[in-house]
């Protein structure tokens, strides 16, 4: 993928390699994402899409290559220095129930990143959570419920609210609507589009549905056997 030299990309991935044992699952992959831009990553199961996402997030350290995020190179950083940066790139996963703790109320799940970050304020915190709930189209009453008391679509909205809690610049969306019922998918995609326009977020959108990626993304990169071809 070509680099536009005069605009600083939000995320710039260069020559990323991830190996599982002797198998190379991500094979010299390069791409970039600008603020407000959506890059679609498409390909069959096992092609390395999610491994790429994990390596970008530094949840799985890549074997070689560079990940530049917001002007800083992540692969050489230790956990302590990564921590503040992690807040600004947040994942949203496929299974909305699996990504929220069944024991926590939605309100607490959304507040948790603020506690971890050390920015929880007892006076303004609850209002911030209420604002996040509203921003993703949930009622304040949904905050008192636990994941199993919500529909899949509502749960995914809660997952998005939690990702937004730390005011991220980049969302890694790993099949965010694939597990949802068809009548709920369009609503979640519309919400993501609106949030992007309002907040200028960059999106890495991983999906195996070609038509959906074409609709939703500014650019599409196709992955096969760990390698990338842009289209």
């Amino acid at each position: 993928m070509s680099h536009v030299s005069d605009v600083n990309p939000l995320l710039d991935v260069r020559d990323l390699v991830v190996r599982h044992g002797t198998r190379t699952v991500v094979d010299h992959v390069s791409f970039d994402i600008s603020p407000g831009e959506t890059l679609g990553l498409i390909g069959p199961s096992g092609c390395g899409k999610s491994s790429t996402a994990m390596a970008v997030l530094q949840l799985r350290r890549p074997d070689s290559g560079e990940v530049w995020f917001d002007g800083q190179e992540l692969t050489a950083m230790d956990e302590r220095r990564l921590r503040p940066l992690r807040q600004t790139m947040q994942p949203v996963f496929q299974d909305p129930y699996g990504s929220l703790s069944p024991r926590h109320r939605i309100r607490d799940a959304i507040a948790e990143p603020l506690h971890v970050q050390g920015s929880w304020d007892r006076t303004t915190g609850p209002a911030r959570v209420a604002e996040l709930l509203e921003r993703v189209g949930l009622d304040p009453t949904h905050g008192d419920r636990r994941p199993h008391e919500l529909s899949g679509g509502q749960c995914q909205r809660a997952g998005i609210a939690r990702a937004l809690a730390c005011e991220p610049k980049l969302l890694i969306l790993d099949e965010p609507v694939s597990a949802l019922d068809p009548s709920l998918r369009a609503g979640i995609l519309n919400l993501l589009a609106e949030l992007q326009e309002r907040l200028g977020l960059g999106y890495l959108f991983i999906c195996h549905d070609r038509a959906l990626v074409r609709h939703f993304c500014d650019r599409v990169a196709e992955m096969r056997d760990g390698r990338l071809s842009s289209s």
Binding site: P182, S183, G187, N190, F216
Partner: protein, 339 residues
């Protein structure tokens, strides 16, 4: 479309006023439709619409604790309330199931071919050797080589396991195959292969296929007719081409409009998709009147909210909606406002 010829009009299976309840909660609420000989009928709906329960009732295998009323008639046999001996005599011979999860449908501790051989011997009194030979031949017919027959299910890929259970379902040439979400959790290429195989195998045997799915692309590709379910009731039924081209129920229209492939890339310069607002109701808390009314852009304050619409049939199309005649030519626009 799987069958080039139009399906015969002979009715193979007839469902009338099917109701399935658990205690006071009714999950399938008066469902009627026919499956014709040799056709592929898709049953479409979201989780909780009652489609899997319906599939089990068609097989004469309602889940424990369920109360089933109404009628499911396969030829001369009535399956609702029939004793288990009557129903089990049909299993494998006249009706067969291709389950959602092939891994849990197969025993992990037996070779795949042995499991097929056991299925052969459960119906036909043949020698073990003969049964094994038929099992291996059946696997070969779905593209699993004879040298793989000694394998255990965990040694197969997801697609191979699904092909093996298709082979098992087709062993005794059933009249009716029920496939309940046969391709969930597989990637699109495998999905297509499995569905193509299912359609060709049932087509070659002259069997009817009931395909339970929530995937509209699958329906368009593989089914002749479709039944759309919402909250335990039929909202629309008809030939796939006609329903996709001109849906009559607002729910079907919204569902079809919200799939991005229906729209050229960012044609309007907007990324907003038409979307159905809200979420499906839960069976314990159904709204009065039409169950879709709270999400429906055509809903009126009186009739839709109080009186449940009954299915009506005109020119081979069935619809259950008080206001279907008022659905505009481009119904997608009705669903554009919701975020």
């Amino acid at each position: 479309m799987s069958t080039p010829s139009t399906p015969s009009t002979e009715v193979l299976l007839s469902v009338r006023d099917l109701r399935i309840s658990f205690g006071a909660v009714e999950a399938v609420r008066g469902l009627s439709f026919d499956v014709h000989e040799g056709e592929v009928l898709a049953v479409v709906g979201e989780s909780g619409a009652g489609k899997s329960l319906t599939a089990r009732a068609l097989l004469g295998m309602p889940p424990r604790g369920a109360t089933v009323t109404g009628s499911v008639r396969l030829g001369a046999d009535e399956l609702v309330d029939a004793p288990r001996s009557v129903r089990s005599a049909l299993w494998g011979r006249r009706v067969a199931l291709v389950p959602q999860d092939a891994l849990s449908a197969l025993s992990p501790v037996h070779q795949v071919a042995d499991q097929l051989a056991a299925a052969v011997r459960s119906v036909d009194r043949v020698s073990r050797k003969e049964a094994r030979a038929r099992a291996v031949a059946a696997l070969e017919e779905v593209g699993i080589a004879a040298d793989k027959a000694r394998a255990y299910p965990h040694e197969f890929s997801g697609g191979m396991r699904q092909r093996a259970v298709i082979a098992m379902a087709m062993l005794h040439q059933p009249d009716l195959v029920i496939a309940d979400e046969p391709t969930t959790a597989q990637d699109p290429e495998t999905q297509k292969q499995v569905l193509d195989l299912l359609a060709t195998r049932t087509g070659a045997a002259g069997a009817s296929l009931v395909l339970v799915t929530h995937d509209l692309a699958t329906v368009r590709e593989h089914a002749d007719r479709m039944v759309v379910m919402y909250a335990g009731r039929l909202v629309e039924a008809g030939p796939v081409g006609e329903v996709f081209a001109r849906p009559r129920a607002p729910y079907t229209a919204g569902l079809l409009a919200s799939v991005p492939e229906a729209h050229p890339v960012r044609s309007t310069g907007l990324r907003r998709l038409p979307a159905i607002a809200g979420a499906p109701p839960v069976p314990t808390d159904l709204p009065p009147g039409c169950a879709f009314a709270p999400r429906c852009p055509l809903t009126d304050a009186t009739r839709c909210r109080t009186e449940q619409p009954e299915p009506e049939t005109h020119d081979g199309r069935t619809v259950a909606c008080h206001r279907w005649r008022e659905l505009p030519d481009n119904p997608a626009e009705l669903f554009l406002e919701t975020v």
